[in-house]
C-alpha cells in the first residue's frame, strides 16, 4: 500500500510538464552520448552537473539519471554496427552483436538491444522500488572474501568465451590479468610495470584496450582494395530490420537472467556493469541449448548483456539512495550533485525526501518508455549505416576510435596505446587468440587481486577465510561447476587421443 501511495505521488511529480521535459532531455542526451564511444555517461553527467545544480533537486536528478540509463541504451549501437564498444559494458555485446550485423541481422540485433534494455531497465526500477532496503542490507554482507568469490566466478567465464583452443583463451586472459596489475599497487603505493610513465600510473584504461582490440583490429583485417563496395548485407523492408516473434522467444530467458544478474551485481559497490554483462552472458551460454553457436551471432547473446547493463542502473542506485554510498563512477557524480544542492544522501534520504525518491522512480518508468519509443524507430535508420561502402565505413571507424579514446581523459598517450592494441588485436585475430578473455582479465584482475589481499589482511594470512564464509563458498561452488564441465571434456578428449595412439 505504501508503495502504491509513494508511486502515485511519484507519478504526480514526474508527470509535471517541467519534469517530463527534463526527463526527455536526459534520455535523449544519454542516447546520443551512449552512441559515441569514449564519452561515457559519467563524463556527460559531469558536464551537465552545473546546469542540474541550478534546478530543483528532483528535476535535476530526473535529468541526470536519464542520462545515466539513456547512455546504456545507446552504448550497444556502435558495438553492434561497427564492433566499437561505446562504453566498457558493451564489449560483450560486440561478441554476438557484430556477428549478427555481419550476417545481415543488424536490425534485429539493435532492436533486441533496445527491447532488452527496456525490459531490464523497467525490471531494475521495479526492484529498486520494492526491495531496495533489504537488498542494500544484503549487499553489505559482501566483504572482501565474497568479492573474491564473485571475481573468481567472473573469471571462470573464460571457459565459456574460449574458441577452439582453451589454452589460447587462458593465455589471452593471463595477458589481461597482467595488464590489470600495471599501475599503482593499492596496498604498498609502489608502482608495477609503469616504465616510469605518469600515464601508466593509473593503469591501462579498459575502453582503450577494448576499442583497440575489437574495432581497430577488425578494420585492419579488412583493408583490402578489392572491397570497394558495401561490406554488409542489409535486407530491405522494415520487417527484416526488427526482431521477429522467434527472436523474442529465444530471448525470454535472457531478459530475466540479464535483469536479475545486472541488478544484483549493480547493488555491490565496486563491481559494475562490465562484470554484470560478462556474467549474464556466461550464464546465458551455460544454460543455452545451442552453446556452440554463441559468438557466431545468436540473438540471446546480445539480449543478456544488454539487459544486465541496463538493470545495473537500478541496482547501482540502491546503495546511493538507501545508504548514501556511491557504488560506481556515475553514482559518485550523482552524490556530488546532492552535495551541491546542499543535501547529503544517507540512509534516511527516502524518509526525509520521499518526493525525490518516488519522483525519480516514476521518472525512470517514463524514461524507459520514452527510450523505447525513441530508439526503436532509429534502428532501421542506424542499420542503413552498414550500406556505406567499406572505404568510408572503415576509415570512419578509425576516426571514431581516435576521437573516442582521446575524449575519455584527453590524453595523447591513450591514442598511442590504442594504436598498439589495434596491432595486437589484428595479430590475435590471425593467430586465433580470442580477445574477450583478455578484456575479462583486465576488468577483473585488480578487483580480484585486491579482494584476495584484503581478505588475507583481515584474517592475518589465514587462507580459509576465502572459502569458509557461506556466501563466498556458494559462489565458489558455482565457479567450480563452470570450470569442471569443459575441463572434464578436455581431459576426456586427451585421453581418447592418447588411447588412439
Amino acid at each position: 500500500m505504501e508503495v502504491l501511495a509513494g508511486l502515485a505521488q511519484g507519478f504526480a511529480i514526474a508527470l509535471e510538464p517541467a519534469n517530463l521535459f527534463w526527463c526527455f532531455i536526459g534520455v535523449v542526451l544519454g542516447t546520443i552520448v551512449g552512441l559515441l564511444p569514449g564519452l561515457g555517461p559519467s563524463a556527460t553527467v559531469a558536464l551537465l552537473l552545473p546546469l542540474a545544480t541550478q534546478m530543483n533537486p528532483t528535476s535535476g536528478l530526473i535529468m541526470l539519471a536519464g542520462i545515466y540509463y539513456g547512455a546504456k541504451y545507446g552504448g550497444s549501437t556502435t558495438a553492434i554496427l561497427l564492433n566499437v564498444p561505446g562504453e566498457s559494458a558493451s564489449v560483450v555485446t560486440c561478441l554476438d552483436g557484430f556477428e549478427m550485423a555481419r550476417k545481415g541481422r543488424a536490425g534485429p540485433a539493435l532492436g533486441i538491444a533496445a527491447i532488452a534494455s527496456f525490459v531490464a531497465g523497467t525490471i531494475g526500477v521495479v526492484l529498486l522500488m520494492l526491495v531496495a532496503p533489504p537488498v542494500a542490507e544484503f549487499a553489505l554482507r559482501f566483504g572482501p572474501p565474497e568479492y573474491f568469490a564473485l571475481m573468481a566466478l567472473g573469471l571462470s567465464m573464460v571457459v565459456l568465451l574460449a574458441g577452439k583452443s582453451m589454452i589460447k583463451a587462458l593465455l589471452s586472459m593471463l595477458v589481461g590479468l597482467w595488464l590489470a596489475t600495471v599501475g599503482i599497487d593499492l596496498f604498498t603505493d609502489g608502482e608495477r610495470y609503469t616504465f616510469e610513465q605518469i600515464e601508466l600510473v593509473d593503469g591501462v584504461h579498459f575502453v582503450v584496450a577494448a576499442i583497440g582490440l575489437f574495432a581497430i583490429g577488425e578494420v585492419l583485417a579488412n583493408l583490402r582494395p578489392a572491397d570497394g563496395m558495401q561490406q554488409f548485407r542489409v535486407p530491405k523492408g522494415l520487417r527484416n530490420l526488427l526482431p521477429n516473434g522467434q527472436d523474442l522467444k529465444d530471448c525470454r530467458f535472457a531478459f530475466v537472467n540479464g535483469s536479475l544478474v545486472g541488478f544484483f551485481i549493480g547493488v555491490l559497490p565496486g563491481a559494475g556493469s562490465t562484470i554484470a554483462s560478462f556474467v549474464s552472458y556466461g550464464v546465458e551460454k551455460a544454460v543455452s541449448r545451442r552453446k556452440e553457436q554463441f559468438g557466431t551471432g545468436v540473438i540471446e547473446g546480445v539480449a543478456a548483456p544488454e539487459a544486465a547493463n541496463n538493470s545495473e542502473t537500478g541496482g547501482a542506485l540502491v546503495p546511493l539512495l538507501t545508504l548514501g554510498i556511491p557504488g560506481s563512477a556515475t553514482t559518485a557524480i550523482l552524490l556530488a550533485a546532492f552535495i551541491l544542492w546542499g543535501m547529503r544522501p544517507g540512509p534516511l534520504l527516502i524518509q526525509d525526501h520521499p518526493e525525490i525518491f518516488w519522483g525519480l522512480v516514476a521518472s525512470m518508468y517514463i524514461g524507459n518508455v520514452m527510450l523505447l519509443i525513441f530508439n526503436l524507430p532509429l534502428v532501421p535508420l542506424f542499420a542503413q549505416i552498414l550500406r556505406l561502402p567499406g572505404h568510408i565505413l572503415y576509415s570512419g571507424i578509425l576516426g571514431i576510435s581516435i576521437v573516442g579514446v582521446y575524449s575519455v581523459d584527453q590524453r595523447l598517450f591513450d591514442v598511442w596505446l590504442v594504436t598498439a592494441f589495434g596491432l595486437l588485436g589484428y595479430l590475435m585475430r590471425r593467430l586465433d587468440y580470442p580477445a574477450a578473455p583478455l578484456l575479462l582479465g583486465l576488468v577483473l584482475g585488480d578487483l580480484m587481486e585486491n579482494a584476495v589481499r584484503q581478505s588475507l589482511m583481515m584474517s592475518n594470512g589465514d587462507v580459509s577465510i576465502l572459502y569458509s564464509r557461506p556466501l563466498a563458498a556458494t559462489m565458489l561452488l558455482f565457479t567450480a561447476a563452470i570450470l569442471i564441465g569443459p575441463l572434464f571434456r578436455q581431459v576426456n578428449t586427451w585421453r581418447l587421443k592418447a588411447a588412439e595412439q
Binding site: 564519452l39 593471463l174 576516426g399 594504436t419 595479430l427 588475507l456
Partner: protein
C-alpha cells in the same frame, strides 16, 4: 617434421614465453609474501609463471601433433601487407596528433587509407576525407565540446 610445424603459432607462443618471463622477472623484485598475506609480487609472479607454462604447453602439443604426422592448420597471413600499411598510417596519425592537430592528422590517415588501402580515385578520396573530417569536427568539437588537439594553424 620441422616443415610441418606452424611457425606462426610457435613464434606467438615464444613471444608469450618471453612476456611471461619478463613479467615474472620484474615481479621477483617485489615482496612475494608479507606478514599480512600476498605482497605486490605475488600475483604478477604467478601470472608470469602461468604464461610461460601454458605457452610452453602449446608448443609441446604442436610438436606432438606434428611428430604424430597429424595435419597442422596453417595460419593465414593473407591481407597482412595492407593491414600493416593501414596500421602504419594510423601510427603516423597518432604521432602527428599533437604537433599537427586532429584535422591534419585525420586527413593524412584518411587519404592514405583511401588511396593506398582501398585504391580510390583522388576525387573520391578528397571528397570523403573532407566530408568526414568536417563531420567529426562539427560533432565532437562544436557540439560536444571535446577538446581535440589543435595544430599550429588553429584547427
Amino acid at each position: 617434421m620441422w616443415r610441418s610445424l606452424n611457425k606462426s603459432e610457435l613464434t606467438a607462443a615464444g613471444l608469450l614465453i618471453a612476456l611471461g618471463a619478463y613479467v615474472a622477472w620484474e615481479a621477483w623484485e617485489w615482496p612475494y609474501m608479507t606478514k599480512d598475506g600476498p605482497g605486490p609480487g605475488f600475483f604478477p609472479l604467478w601470472i608470469g609463471i602461468l604464461l610461460v607454462g601454458l605457452a610452453a604447453l602449446l608448443i609441446v602439443l604442436q610438436v606432438a601433433d606434428a611428430s604424430a604426422g597429424k595435419p597442422v592448420e596453417k595460419t593465414s597471413w593473407a591481407g597482412t601487407r595492407p593491414a600493416l600499411v593501414g596500421w602504419g598510417a594510423l601510427l603516423v596519425a597518432a604521432l602527428l596528433l599533437e604537433p599537427a592537430g586532429f584535422v591534419a592528422s585525420y586527413l593524412f590517415l584518411s587519404v592514405v587509407l583511401l588511396r593506398v588501402s582501398f585504391r580510390r580515385s583522388w576525387s573520391s578520396t578528397a571528397l570523403v576525407s573532407v566530408v568526414s573530417v568536417a563531420c567529426f569536427w562539427g560533432l565532437f568539437v562544436k557540439l560536444l565540446e571535446v577538446r581535440l588537439p589543435v595544430g599550429p594553424w588553429g584547427f
